[in-house]
């Protein structure tokens, strides 16, 4: 077979053609517009989607129940953060605080954290005193006492003045602010005693040591503050000497 014959034979294949009606029908189908969606079809589509979602939820019941419980719990705990002593959700707030303390607060920072809690409770008292009728005031004072007691225990074990000085100062300022609002808080002897003990220990540590004139003056000042029960001022003076 020559090349020419082969090409002639190949060209006979040009006779292969699609059916005319198929060509027209295909063209028509290609350009056929998608039917416009009416309200009913949109509604039916939504229903179908809903049914599908429902089936999905049903098929994954345990997972959804768990996720929902988690969501509710997270929501409740989140919401509880704004609650005040005496509110229903306050116990949840305390659980969160205790959880945080257990998980994220090291032993070294425990005293400072407990003092921060005292400061928070004093803040609650201030808020409760300013709020209408002050219904949360009583529970807030109780919570303060409880937190002060915990902080006193931590203080008894603490030697880190740097960690506690700022917090003690803040607590004293808050107390003054609360007094200016006309609220009287019974002094927590436990916390005061613990603070006094820390300051006393620190003053004693300078006994028998040779001090510069400036340090000696600061120590004397600290002693005066200590005698007057101004523990944060005494601590500030002692801190300045240690530096």
């Amino acid at each position: 077979m020559t090349g020419k014959n082969l090409i002639q034979q190949l060209q006979t294949l040009k006779e292969i053609k699609p059916r005319e009606e198929w060509v027209l029908l295909t063209k028509e189908n290609i350009f056929k517009e998608e039917p416009a969606k009416g309200i009913i079809s949109i509604w039916l589509g939504t229903l179908k989607e809903l049914r599908r979602s429902e089936r999905f939820v049903f098929n994954h019941k345990p997972a959804f129940a768990f996720a929902l419980s988690l969501l509710v719990a997270v929501g409740l705990f989140g919401f509880a953060q704004g609650s005040m002593p005496g509110d229903m959700l306050f116990s949840l707030k305390k659980i969160t605080e205790k959880g945080q303390a257990a998980l994220f607060v090291s032993d070294k920072n425990k005293t400072r954290y407990d003092l921060e809690m005292v400061s928070k409770r004093l803040n609650d008292i201030a808020k409760a005193a300013q709020a209408d009728a002050g219904k949360n005031l009583g529970p807030a004072i109780n919570e303060y006492k409880e937190s002060a007691s915990t902080a006193a225990k931590s203080l008894a074990k603490s030697n880190d003045l740097k960690e506690i000085t700022a917090e003690v100062k803040k607590i004293e300022e808050q107390k003054q602010e609360i007094q200016s609002l006309g609220v009287k808080i019974d002094e927590n002897a436990e916390l005061d005693n613990a603070l006094a003990s820390v300051v006393q220990k620190e003053i004693d540590s300078f006994d028998g040591k040779q001090l510069t004139q400036e340090s000696q003056a600061a120590l004397e000042k600290a002693k005066i503050y200590f005698v007057n029960g101004k523990y944060s001022d005494a601590l500030e003076k002692l801190m300045g000497m240690g530096m």
Partner: protein
């Protein structure tokens, strides 16, 4: 949109016969060729209406057709083994015009063509059956004109050899 439809309608009219023939010669079945061909244009239209910057619509349609044919054979291979010798050559049409095609010589060349390598098949169909020039084919294949000419020459030689074997055995 209307303008786009007009443009694609023209592309359809100009290419439907060629694309159909191209697919038919690869699948040897009228039904399959119709299915794959309509799918080719449908996909082509979907892309064309969303991306108007198709540089060479003809090459683009052939590319879709080639992919569909490959997918078709891949799918078919899962259920049965296909070879050009074992697959019957379908009667492309039942009308009188089509009947003229059904003769021994025609069957022989179709069988030989189907037995060639894919790229040889394509270059022969494009040039000798669908009447594309060498530069047009080169552009569609993304090759140089020289390389396309060489490929066409080799493809024709391979087909000649196949035909010789077919004639001898028949």
């Amino acid at each position: 949109m209307k303008k786009l439809k007009q443009v694609f309608s023209k592309i359809y009219d100009e290419n439907i016969n060629k694309i159909y023939r191209f697919i038919y010669l690869k699948v040897n079945s009228q039904e399959t060729a119709e299915d794959l061909c309509s799918e080719t244009f449908l996909k082509g239209w979907q892309v064309f209406k969303s991306n108007k910057n198709i540089e060479n619509p003809q090459a683009f349609l052939y590319q879709i057709a080639r992919n569909l044919v490959i997918d078709h054979y891949r799918e078919k291979a899962r259920t049965q083994t296909v070879s050009p010798e074992s697959s019957p050559i379908a009667d492309p049409s039942a009308d009188l015009e089509g009947a003229a095609l059904v003769n021994l010589e025609m069957d022989a060349i179709k069988t030989a063509l189907a037995d060639l390598r894919n790229d040889y098949q394509e270059v022969i169909i494009w040039h000798y059956v669908n009447d594309y020039s060498v530069p047009e084919i080169a552009k569609m294949m993304g090759k140089s004109e020289g390389a396309t000419r060489v490929q066409l020459h080799r493809a024709l030689k391979a087909l000649k050899d196949k035909m010789a074997v077919t004639v001898q055995t028949s």
